[in-house]
Symmetry: C2
Subunit: 323 residues, 2 copies
């Protein structure tokens, strides 16, 4: 099953979600209004609302709280991208100029805050205290993951557990939260809520590992943002860790690149190429595949066969995506 087929089956709900997201991003300030509208319409794949909608569809859901919840997770994702881009001082995202290319950083911080506030308003609209709780703790998990990324930057003495905890917060927590919110709104029983949350977390881990692989492999043209950004920011990801374990302590060239002082473009490319040629990429993809397998195994609890297949296809997306 293709992602487009899943999206088609959710078309009506997704259209309502999109409209709700666009409405929440409306502001009065002239230039800002147009830019925000472009950001929330530029798409991305709306993976998190799709996951939330699918999780609810497996059960007996009420559509009214579902739309703001799905819009809320997408808005939370957008807000966190805005701050992420400010922190990275990124000028491109999804091939489009970011807010940083137009506004100073103070303004962009506030725009991100404003979008966080809108996502909180959307979550509150569900009037479901547990959904609001999941939403708030997910926001905290995302910040925790991003803080860990900053605090572990430029250090090659990290464990795989450090990496996993970091990407759980940064990416997997929102997949987990989206699936859990959907299950809660679907009035699923507790074991199904737990299983769907774990499914979301596993799929999110796979997505981030593949993201980290793509960052090492891709050129600026294909991913719509600068290539090897992780290396350039001193962020040590799984492929780099696996490469390090293959070089038996001969790691001074990686150390230098991760330190990041006076490193040339050629050096970044050379280390990226070494990692690619070492087999570390394949090993990282195996790790992503294990997460997907574990996620899919959790779906046996889902009573609805069609939704089960859709969620399985959703999980497999993590491994097969092009930008």
């Amino acid at each position: 099953m293709k992602f487009s087929a899943i999206v088609d089956s959710l078309q009506e709900d997704l259209a309502r979600v999109d409209a709700r997201v666009r409405r929440a991003a409306e502001v009065e300030y002239p230039v800002l209004g147009e830019i925000l509208s472009a950001i929330v319409s530029s798409g991305g794949k709306r993976l998190r609302p799709v996951l939330l909608l699918l999780a609810a569809r497996a059960y007996d859901y009420d559509i009214e709280p579902l739309i703001p919840a799905a819009a809320g997770v997408e808005m939370l994702h957008t807000a966190s991208l805005v701050h992420d881009d400010t922190i990275d001082r990124a000028l491109l995202r999804r091939g489009q100029p970011t807010l940083n290319s137009v506004f100073n950083s103070g303004t962009v911080i506030l725009i991100g805050d404003y979008l966080f506030a809108q996502s909180a308003i959307l979550a509150a609209e569900t009037m479901n205290p547990r959904v609001v709780s999941v939403f708030a703790s997910t926001l905290a998990d995302i910040c925790d993951g991003q803080l860990r990324e900053i605090f572990t930057a430029h250090r090659i003495d990290q464990t795989r557990e450090d990496y996993e905890r970091r990407i759980y917060g940064k990416t997997a927590s929102l997949f987990a939260g989206a699936a859990e919110m959907g299950a809660l709104i679907g009035n699923a029983d507790e074991s199904a809520v737990t299983a769907l949350r774990a499914f979301g977390a596993d799929v999110g881990m796979a997505f981030q590992i593949v993201d980290d692989v793509l960052d090492l492999q891709a050129s600026t043209d294909t991913i719509g943002k600068p290539a090897n950004l992780d290396l350039r920011q001193g962020t040590v990801t799984l492929p780099t860790m696996l490469y390090l374990s293959r070089v038996n302590g001969d790691d001074s060239h990686v150390q230098r690149v991760v330190d990041g002082n006076g490193v040339t473009d050629e050096e970044y490319s050379r280390v990226a190429t070494l990692i690619q040629e070492s087999g570390a990429i394949e090993e990282a993809m195996d790790a992503a595949r294990s997460y997907v397998d574990r996620a899919v195994a959790r779906l046996s609890i889902i009573p609805d066969r069609e939704v089960q297949q859709q969620l399985e296809a959703f999980a497999n997306l993590a491994l097969h995506r092009g930008y």
Copy 2:
């Protein structure tokens, strides 16, 4: 009645609120943990939790949701100060070094986000959907006010309505929200909820006007942050507006200072002195006093005479405070 007497009467609840705030600010990262703990313990006056507690005390409140709600408004205030200081690149706040003096701006953005997340978790703990709604829309109002401040900076062609809308968002909205949340947790009837929200808004307006007056009057020593910061940032506040209306179009000296290009310290001080000597300060204080009078008049709806007096004293604080 003095503020300290109000605080004394709330001592037990406030101690629980303080403990809850401190716990919510605990993080694992070594340096950051100590700094956050210093920030949340450095005090300020805890005006917003006091207002929330008083609003609930007037009615039949349940203590369990009250503590996280009061901790939540204080945490929201702290989070917004962290981002505010990042935007202003301020190195001092309440006479203490800010996070900006220790961490880079990306880290400080995330720390602010993390504190926002903690405040949302505290609000969610009330398990009261209306409290969560007020919390979320207050966050949006704060961002709106701060964005307005940025978008109107360096412009002297602003109306008093622009100013009022801006300070409502920046400051009064959280006073309004705190009073409303307290009343909601106190199970006050709708007319009392509305009256207490309006009371909070009026008091908040008075606080911000007086803040703007103090910024023009004070020296760095007395307010614990750089003096005349508003002028230096091109923020046109009420005293400046009132001064402009007195000079009959002879405003090129103000225009130059508000523009802010190549302005010397002496020029800032000179314009601040001109504003102080013009009578604009007294007129601004009159405006603050009107807000306080209007706030106090709203208190007739409160059944409990003691709480009524405490809230009246709270409102008067806006006019009589030293730093």
